[in-house]
Amino acid sequence: MIQSIVFDNVNLKLFTDNPQDGPVSQVWNNVVTFERGKSYLIEATSGRGKSSFCSFLCGLRNDYVGNIILNDGNGNALPGGYSNMLLRRQKILAMMFQEHRLFPELSSVDNVMLKNQITGYTTEKEVRAMLVRLGLEDHLDRPCGRMSFGQQQRVAFVRALCQPFDFILLDEPISHLDEGNAAIMTDMLRERQEKDGVGVIVTSIGYRLPYEYDEILYL
């Protein structure tokens, strides 16, 4: 079980020749620790590297300097490599992408079940119940390609929840949602955090998920 994620002087490789040109903030070129059980908001304006931060954390990109360390609480860091990268995505870090990364030809239930099949975390009945809770009862078996951006955002959120994890990273989760749905999403996230004691990291460029954050960091 991963207890903390440390960003140790991480910066974009792009600026390694001239570090003074690179961003310096509470996250970049700094040491910041995300702990299990706590919640964090990463606040950023456009161009501050929010997408890069998410990609580095998920292991989708490696073009950074410094270290991202996943600690298990006994002083051991999770090593790199292909199998640990898979482990990170399957059981350590759940990710809700800003661009959702849903499959337009599959229904909302199938999109979630496709992710759920990797670990068999939950049942289709529970998946349907979560989607219904977010107001998608008429869109359960409709291809995601025919759904609005906001509806897709809710499917992507449910999909992120359908796996075991120690941390969840939500990249602008309510950019296209009304307050009512944002509140339901907040409730579902809180329930999960209370149940499993997971860490929550949310990003925002202004429109914040209404959550009780332990720390707000500026990129």
Partner: protein, 405 residues
């Protein structure tokens, strides 16, 4: 896996797959027909002679003149022949060094003649005397009961049946009666005449001599003609593959050796094997073309699904699991094609063999297990190769993420 298939099977081009199936079916049918043809021809070309091993050649040295010494092969010349790549074994012909007579009586008719016996090593003789009703016999002389097994040239029987018997109103002799044929053989030795009852073990239409067991002939010569020169003037060559390479014929020509009787048959055999090889190669080229067509189709499919593959990988799907969808697809297609090709060959073959049997009674239909074995080998080869190509391509798309840090 069901959802993965549902997602990734989209964009499959049925036209491309159909093209692959058709081209590979044509190639597969040609390859499998070539393989079966090879087997048929092998049994056909060695059929009709149950006595001598397959793929053999008899060579002699030419007789220079009446007064010249008997041309014989030296030990070095025999060793040189053994070293040739297409020759698997070399055997010597040993001739009887004393006078031999044979006689038989059939009713009132009696026939007697001086004859000449020879022997080749036993490994060149197959122990199958069923054609003359002597299944239980062994290729060995019995000195106690004076029983001597012999193999006769088929044209001796033809000479009797169509010449002597027809002219003298005698009954004709069939193959299965030969086992009980009352043939006696006499050896004139210094100690007097030694009689043997000859038991015909078989007929051969490939060597024009009367063959007796090797050990018997060696002992006979050692006992009654110890000083005689037994150097071989004829050799028998064999090959495991059942055919000889052209280089052998060139070597024999160069050395001035003469191929006996069946050389044209061996050359024809070699020529037909060559044609069958070309047929198999053409079929294989078709299959190879189809193989690459499927490679291109599947690579295009993976390219079209590149975004989906990257997304699946970012969700936590392994490269192996993503690639498995495409690997199972190519496995099904490859298996389908080669099984259908083998089935078609199996269905068509009885018609072909019936046609062959009409034109030649010597033709014996061969079993088709090699066709199925070759099909299985191609399924294995194609699926493994396709599977590797698919895995590499999927991994390439995930490569930027795969290393981790």
């Amino acid at each position: 896996m069901k959802l993965l298939f549902k997602l990734l099977r989209q964009n499959i081009s049925l036209g491309q797959i159909l093209g692959f199936v058709l081209i590979n079916l044509v190639g597969g049918l040609i390859v499998l027909s070539g393989v079966q043809g090879y087997k048929d021809f092998k049994s056909f070309s060695t059929g009709g002679d149950q006595i001598l091993s397959a793929g053999y050649l008899v060579v002699t040295k030419p007789v220079e003149s009446i007064l010249a010494e008997r041309p014989v092969f030296s030990e070095d010349e025999i060793k040189d022949l053994e070293k040739l790549s297409s020759v698997s074994s070399v055997g010597e012909f040993v001739a009887s060094q004393i006078e031999v007579k044979a006689s038989f009586a059939l009713g009132q008719a009696k026939l007697s003649s001086d004859i000449f016996l020879e022997a080749v090593p036993d490994e060149f003789i197959k122990d199958d005397y069923s054609a003359v009703g002597n299944e239980d016999r062994v290729w060995d002389a019995d000195l106690d009961t004076k029983l001597l097994p012999v193999i006769l040239p088929r044209n001796y029987l033809n000479l009797y049946n169509y010449g002597y018997a027809a002219a003298n109103g005698l009954p004709q002799i069939t193959d299965d009666l030969l086992g009980t044929f009352p043939l006696r053989i006499y050896f004139d030795t210094e100690e007097g005449r030694v009689d043997y009852n000859a038991m015909v073990c078989g007929l051969t239409n490939k060597i024009n001599t009367i063959l007796v067991p090797w050990n018997f002939m060696k002992e006979l010569n050692e006992k009654y003609a110890p000083d005689a020169d037994c150097s071989p003037s004829r050799l028998i060559l064999t090959t495991d593959a059942g055919d000889f390479e052209d280089s052998l014929f060139e070597y024999l020509d160069e050395k001035g050796y003469v191929m006996e009787g069946d050389s044209s048959h061996v050359r024809l055999q070699s020529f037909i094997y060559g044609i069958l090889l070309v047929v198999i190669v053409v079929g294989f080229l078709f299959s190879l073309m189809a193989f690459f067509l499927l490679v291109v189709s599947i690579l295009l499919l993976i390219e079209k699904n590149k975004e989906k593959i990257v997304n699946l990988f970012s969700m936590g799907y392994s490269v192996r699991k993503i690639a498995m969808v495409y690997q199972l697809t190519v496995l099904v297609i490859d298996t389908f094609v080669w099984i259908v090709a083998a089935l078609l060959t199996t269905i068509i073959y009885p018609y072909f063999s019936a046609m062959m049997q009409e034109s030649s009674s010597d033709f014996v239909p061969a079993s088709l297990w090699q066709v199925w074995l070759v099909s299985l080998l191609f399924i294995l080869l194609f699926s493994v190769m396709h599977g590797l190509v698919v895995y590499r391509q999927v991994r390439k798309h995930c490569k930027c993420n795969e290393r981790g840090k």
